[in-house]
Symmetry: C2
Subunit: 327 residues, 2 copies
């Protein structure tokens, strides 16, 4: 198996510096978030911004649409950038936009971001009535065109139902095991099982609020959680979705948390005392540290083939099967 390195979720304050760090870290592909609460037109502005970066940094990055673009990136020493949304706001109330955003390059879309959406329930709601009428139609359309259902920020019942309703495997792109770190965003056994036993993927997050001991979490502990997940769900369903939010100002955390849906501040996983991004663990400060995960997994004795899959091979195989139109 080729030693791909794929990080399946980042939302950094992109710059030439970060693109160079991706290259230093040997990243063949990165899935980047280009929408939290943006409506369709605002999301198109974000596609436009990336088009400009592809023009400006043709030696560092390229647009990723298919798994084969990862091979192309690797052959030319670049990082393939794949697009995703952490909310269905880009499709507004219009199912026809599912195919439009896929044509523009979107490959993952969360059905919810913390709150109730038109499609499903977010993990911060007190009630979870499951997938909505529109949600069922949109999942079918996402299956048809090759836009992957991502339930990272969704509530449990909605996630399990999405896994069951979807005819193609779904993903939790960035979260950890709730049994290891009982954060609201980490996933319980029945949720992870529902996703992985249908061919879905779980990407492990380095966001400190999702880590045992937060910023003080040890690499060994993180890797042991991964090894445990491999035992429980099969290593082939696991990958990395670092949730790297490098160089973002606190105003962006606020946009992520409250968008335009509230006039009051909601601190999400933070607090009034610590409203901003927490510091990353010392062994994962930016893309240059991606290789530390490989070393960590090997150090705890995971077999090299499983490590290769987790570092990128599993996402590669998932991309190859799930980004193309059905049939």
């Amino acid at each position: 198996m080729t030693n791909f390195r794929i990080d399946n979720l980042q939302y950094a304050n992109w710059s030439e510096k970060i693109f160079r760090q991706m290259r230093e870290g040997g990243l063949d592909a990165v899935h980047v978030t280009i929408s939290y609460h943006e409506n369709f037109r605002e999301t198109v502005l974000n596609f436009e911004q990336w088009n400009r970066w592809f023009e400006q940094y043709p030696d560092l990055i390229m647009k990723g649409q298919w798994a084969s673009d990862i091979d192309k990136a690797r052959e030319t020493g670049r990082t393939a950038i794949f697009f995703g949304f952490q909310n269905p706001s880009p499709i507004e109330d219009d199912i026809g936009l599912v195919e439009i955003v896929h044509t523009l390059g979107a490959r993952f879309m969360q059905l919810t971001y913390n709150n109730q959406s038109l499609l499903a329930t977010g993990c911060y709601e007190s009630e979870d009535p499951g997938i909505t009428r529109m949600g069922k139609q949109v999942i079918k359309e996402m299956n048809r065109v090759g836009l992957v259902v991502d339930m990272s920020h969704s509530a449990d019942r909605s996630t399990i139902e999405a896994a069951e309703i979807s005819e193609r495997p779904i993903a939790i792109t960035h979260a950890n095991l709730h049994s290891w770190a009982p954060a609201l965003r980490n996933k319980k056994d029945d949720v992870v099982r529902a996703v992985t036993e249908r061919g879905g993927m779980l990407g492990f997050s380095l966001y400190p609020h999702h880590l045992k001991g937060k910023s003080e979490c040890k690499l060994e502990s993180f890797c042991q959680m991964i090894a445990q997940a491999a035992d429980l769900y099969g290593a082939e369903h696991l990958g990395i979705g670092s949730d790297l939010c490098q160089d973002q100002p606190d105003s962006v955390v606020e946009w992520m948390r409250v968008g335009r849906w509230s006039k009051e501040i909601d601190y999400g996983e933070g607090s009034a005392a610590a409203p901003g991004f927490p510091p990353m663990p010392s062994w994962y400060e930016d893309n240059r540290h991606f290789g530390n995960l490989e070393d960590g997994l090997k150090a705890i004795g995971m077999n090299p083939e499983e490590v290769t899959g987790i570092m990128g091979g599993n996402w590669y195989r998932f991309y190859a099967k799930n980004f193309t139109p059905q049939g």
Copy 2:
């Protein structure tokens, strides 16, 4: 040379009936207008509508993006549908939308529709100051991504300047020779020359207001005009852009003519007494008559190879060179 049949401009009230008539007429490709005055979001709704038609009629039509899609359509007995705009309204005031609409499938964009636009001057304005500052930037961007400049409804100076400024050949997708029928929309010698001598194309229109004798025009006269254009500009620069507006209600003529830019009625090429679409000539009522043009050109003695080019081969070659990104 393969005997392609390509109609490089239609704006019909699309239906299964018309798609079947395209097949009966042996059309391998049709360039369809999907925007007159629609802004970006409204144009996206039109892309969405076509996506639904591709889903509903997969045996009759398919989305066309590249010249190779015409071969694919031909092999599978379908018509490849290519998209274009008769106005730059879909890109609003945002140059970043040029690449976005190309990604969605747009392949031709008029810089103006009769009136002054942000980019150039339309043929109904009394003054033509030429290509604007934004126009120069947008032409460069259209060249870069592979979106063809179409000047069918533009004023003379703007058209000649566009041909000169553009680094790739441009097109007049639907118009006839002004010397043959002196309609405002038909093109004078210096305009046609500026376009064709730089590798550009002229598509001949069957819209009665552009014909000598209007609805009473004879096929022989139409074909003689084409033969004359072949002598003057070279047959390899000529094709068909029928401007077929089949089954459209008069309300659509009004939308084409006044959009949202005027509260008063503007009759364009019509008049208060005859505000609607004029009847098509008896030898060109719909797509099933496309072959009549071939017969007509052969009947006046044009050489078969030139006829093959005009019926579609020339547009095929033009598509192959001008729809892909530069460099």
